[in-house]
Symmetry: C2
């Protein structure tokens, strides 16, 4: 069937269902829809009498299943409306009578269309294909193993619909029990092409028809020869989801570039009084060293911190790029209208008192004003934002000192403060820190779009509790992550966490499995916790991209070598199998009882030269793509001696054009902390007393590089 005819056929079925105000399709309707989209289902027909049933049985071929067809009976088995394994015309007649009797008993008023006589399929593996409509991601297609595997072990994988054939094939490998599909215990593998086609076609169907809310193909029998859906259930929803406002990329960047790199800032509610937010923001703009124009706005003051005050933004001379709001919620709407009239592209809404306190109407009001005047809104309910290349600190916190490549954002103010504190404490190089708060308008996609083309940003790290428009985020992230690593800390991973998220910002934290699959598919590195997100943001900007998968551990502490190896496996890193010639080359530098192989265990009592020689070899040999160093504090090679020799070798190699990602784990007394800091400052993410964190940071870099296609 042509795509056009297929659509027309389904449209007709759906229109009838809509006219009848039904929220589900009948089995025969389901078959029509499936046939139109090339979704393989068993041969079948509708019997209107017992004789019919016998005749149809012969036509589709015994054995057959008989099932009640009634728009009023959804749970057919429960209603006694299914008889399986019918092998003769006589039995088909008997079964017909039984089913009709049961159906009438189950629901006297049920409209009975007939009894479906269906070819009985079976054998091979039972799998499930399903579709759901996620409030954030829209149409999702799901695939899992049938029976207990999906029910008990929740072994299922999701993708944004529609999927390509390749993506569908990828789903077959996306479940834990993937091996089963390839055939185990002497069993035959399934026909992967047929199964993938089934997934692809279902995904197209649900993408084409928004009103198909849910779909279940359960079970699908996938054998060596074919994949056939034995049962199809289609649930309809006639309420289309509201689309979130989403400008074009150029439009986003036009506004974002003015907001993030403003030539002039108005502070609405600027104050001369210590302790007021409007005072903190003014001070931070001035003391932070922002060199653009700063226009305090206040209804009665004349001068604040030496700057002329304006009664309204409308009075400010010339263009203003961003207005920072430091006034109570109830005054925001009026001031925002003036901002709109002044054609200011961005409003930074620090005030709380909107959706997060139940004031949903107030939030809607400002959203509408924003849309009317094309003002992009940051917040409300935020601490503000930093953009360090401009020395811009439009927050009530304090200016930030370390410029660098990490752009961070948070949905929560508390987490934002933790980002600032950690970054300052760890001397993390930061380009921007942005509070997104209630995300009434600006959200993660807008930030991604801006940071993508911002040369000051090398890595993007985001704390979020939900995605207002997950589909759009996925699309943007997929593109941006090819260029820059994106780290996401998704809060509300667990049911308990999601519940807390619900009561916090009214965020609907979706099924975490969906988030997990979509984020991975989009090339996003998911941080398991807050500290991990911060460590990744700090470390990823330091590491060059690896060019291949071979990781080598060089360690002075055998014990660290074991733990570092564990950490490699935990983080999906590939410990290189050491080629014989390279093994021999390493052995030349280490004591006879040291262990080459991988880890290269140089043993504990070695002088600086041994570290130096082995690290140099590790960098020089092109078969090695990344190094993990394990240092053991001894008097022969003290911590800072180790730190300096590593930096020396790395710089020597850099001069020769060799750059590889290196991380280090330092075991020793407190002096190793200084050495770790020195190494970090010199581009080598290093940690005292931890074998896990440096390897996790390296693992995150590899995950990114693989997604971006950089690792061969």
């Amino acid at each position: 069937m042509s795509a056009k005819n297929a659509k027309a056929t389904v449209r007709k079925v759906l229109d009838r269902a809509k006219a009848e105000k039904r929220s589900a399709l009948t089995a025969p309707e389901g078959k029509l829809v499936c046939d139109a989209y090339g979704i393989a289902v068993p041969k079948e027909g509708i019997a209107k009498s017992a004789a019919d049933a016998a005749k149809l049985g012969k036509k589709v071929g015994f054995p057959v299943v008989l099932k009640i067809v009634s728009p009023d009976i959804l749970h057919k088995t429960e209603a006694g409306g299914v008889v399986v394994g019918i092998k003769t015309p006589q039995d088909a007649q008997k079964a017909y009578a039984t089913i009709i009797a049961n159906a009438k008993k189950y629901n006297k008023k049920a409209k009975i269309v007939g009894v479906q006589v269906q070819q009985m399929v079976g054998g091979g593996q039972e799998v499930i294909i399903g579709a759901v409509t996620d409030p954030s991601f829209g149409k999702m297609i799901a695939f899992g193993m049938g029976g207990v595997l999906v029910e008990v072990l929740k072994d299922v994988t999701f993708r944004l619909a529609p999927v390509t054939r390749d993506e569908a094939l990828g789903m077959l490998d996306g479940i834990k029990a993937a091996e089963i599909l390839k055939g185990v215990r002497g069993g035959k593998g399934v026909n992967r092409a047929s199964l993938a086609a089934l997934i692809e076609n279902v995904s197209k169907l649900i993408a084409d028809f928004p009103e198909i809310a849910e779909m279940d193909l359960n079970p699908v029998f996938a054998s060596e020869k074919s994949a056939v859906a034995a049962d199809v259930r289609i649930i309809l929803d006639w309420q289309p989801a509201v689309q979130r406002y989403r400008p074009k990329t150029e439009e986003i960047n036009r506004a974002m570039n003015r907001i993030m790199r403003p030539k002039s800032v108005a502070v609405i509610g600027a104050s001369a009084e210590d302790g007021k937010i409007g005072n903190s923001v003014m001070k931070n703009l001035i003391n932070g060293g922002y060199e653009g124009n700063i226009y305090p706005v206040h209804p009665s003051a004349s001068e604040i911190l030496g700057r002329k005050v304006y009664k309204s933004v409308l009075d400010v001379p010339g263009e203003v790029d961003v207005a920072v709001f430091c006034i109570p919620a109830k005054f925001v709407a009026a001031a925002l209208t003036e901002v709109g009239e002044k054609k200011i592209p961005g409003a930074v809404l620090i005030p709380s008192g909107f959706a997060e306190t139940g004031n949903v109407a107030g939030q809607k009001e400002i959203q509408e004003i924003g849309r009317k005047y094309n003002v992009r809104l940051m917040g409300p309910n935020i601490y503000g934002y930093y953009y360090t290349p401009q020395n811009l600190c439009a927050t009530f916190c304090t200016p930030y000192d370390y410029k660098g490549g990490a752009a961070l954002s948070s949905q929560s103010g508390g987490i934002g403060m933790a980002i600032i504190g950690f970054s300052r404490s760890a001397k993390m190089g930061v380009s921007a820190i942005v509070g997104l708060g209630n995300k009434s308008d600006l959200d993660e996609d807008d930030l991604l779009t801006f940071f993508e083309q911002d040369d000051n940003t090398k890595v993007i790290a985001m704390h979020l509790e939900d995605l207002k428009d997950g589909r759009s985020f996925a699309e943007v992230a997929k593109r941006v992550s090819k260029k820059k690593p994106i780290v996401v800390l998704k809060a509300g991973r667990t049911d308990a966490g999601a519940k807390a998220a619900g009561s916090h910002t009214g965020a609907l934290a979706g099924n975490d499995k969906i988030y997990d699959d979509v984020l991975r598919q989009s090339g996003v590195i998911r941080a398991p916790g807050l500290r991990d997100m911060l460590d990744y943001a700090r470390g990823l900007q330091k590491l060059p991209a690896p060019k291949g998968e071979n990781v080598v551990i060089i360690t002075g502490a055998g014990g660290s070598g074991v733990l570092l190896s564990d950490a490699c496996v935990d983080n999906g890193l590939h410990l290189m199998k050491m080629p014989a010639d390279l093994d021999a080359a390493f052995r030349k530098f280490i004591p006879p009882f040291g262990a080459a192989g991988n880890p290269v265990d140089i043993t504990g009592g070695e002088p600086p030269t041994t570290y130096k020689n082995t690290i140099r070899l590790g960098l020089e040999d092109p078969r090695i793509h990344a190094l993990i160093l394990g240092y053991w504090h001894t008097i022969i090679t003290p911590p800072m001696v180790f730190g300096k020799l590593v930096v020396e070798v790395v710089n020597e190699m850099k001069a020769k054009g060799i750059e590889k990602p290196i991380v280090a784990s330092l075991a020793g007394d407190v002096q190793v902390e200084e050495a770790a800091e020195y190494l970090y400052d010199n581009g080598i993410p290093s940690y005292a007393y931890s074998t896990e964190i440096p390897v996790a940071v390296l693992g995150a870099k590899f995950r990114w590089a693989r997604g971006a296609g950089l690792v061969k």
Copy 2:
């Protein structure tokens, strides 16, 4: 059958196999053994001819399975030696002929005993029961789901054999797919008593007969009515494992109390020369403030650091409790003999150059000397040991300053140094730090036994790469963990890590699943990484034991509340469902838009009194058993104000006899670090910029308390 008769029956079967130098039992022998131990297997007989097969089929009841019986054919299916689903005498005759022909083709020389005719069992769930002999833990019994679940998903659980009926029942719940056994998708649950009996009886059998090295009951058909092993495979090993030397508890403590709390220490190889280990040890003993006698031993010196030098320990007047060796490996044996002659109970062997460098003979030699003179050996290849209550620093590191309740040990020197560095940096209260190195004699059980009765020790944390005698460790740990938390960092968890362990100390890192199950069964808290072990050791000694499962989060940052909730789920903590009256009581203290429930979200802008009131309520209400605090840095309640108010409320409650475990997560600028330190010093494990670590520490305390039976 009486236990005595059962044993005699099996003994007879095994003796015959031994006489025939076989490493496996035949199927009929397996049946004899199973029958003796009440292990349910199908009815069966051996056919010697095709006619026999038909007759036997009728006797055991069709359908039947026919299987080749030959001591030379272990993999019957591979050999074409199995035909299933035989329903008639005619088919049985035919199958007999086929099997014999196939067997001859497969192995011309195979001795063919006959063909087994077996009742065909099936239906219900396929499960697997197995047994292995682990080099460290000895006889282990395994249980898992059959088919793909065990093969693809490795869903299996282990216990030390023998198990009690209750332990066997516990195994049914120990697999991920446990729900399946209870009946899902309308299926019936299995007969748990029958299945547990099967496990119990297999475990008894393998415990009674060390020569049964491995056993496979695969598949076992577990139905609503019964559990029957359809196939049994028994592998024999006639080489008994060598038992490790293991003194009685009193003997261990007699020696350990003298070693850990010595009245006098001899330093063999003491030196006046800076940089020598014998000099460092002398200095550390003296400068650390050790008040017992210190006897330097050196062949030629007369005075070292103002102390009289002895040519041999034999010249030292009076009793010596411990001798610290600071001499090269080749001189150890002779000096150790003198230590033995002097009847010194403990030798601390710092020198390397033994098994870890391939000198296995040298290590064996000193082990034998140790046993001959009853000298317990610590090491070799270690940094030494600390016991802070005695100001004892018998190491080449430096004295340790913070006395407290954590006793730590490490198998690796590097990890030991990391323990010292972290502990010092974090001001962790420590009672002892012990290097175990090659564990030629003293190992984790000896330490556990000592720390159990050492009042200065409140928590025990151990880094280990293997357990030389895992069974003994499990036994001791099970007892000690009822009194004090035991934290274990098991290195070599993964295949890669285990390989590194193998090349490091010749340690045989066992199957990690076995370690994981046994450690859990022994009440041990397993730390996922080095930093976790250190954080647990630091925090667990601070927290009182919880008396129940109800955890409440009180947070100023809603965002932290979400992440803390996620962390609770990750760490197996139970977020209390807030009773209506308590919810109302909390609401009295917080703004109307704040969220009660759990987390209690007091919102960000609140003054100290709100924190105070809610924390006090959380402590006072007896339904709450533990608190997690989320702090958000604001100018209204600055970090140290928060720190002090928490300590104030906690002390106020303590005065009333109320003590509950509390941890805190602080989000904010760098000032929160000082507040976190203040809180930690005052008994509340607190972390800046992390929502995961404080909850993990609390989770570890709960895991311990549950195992020790303290949580109701």
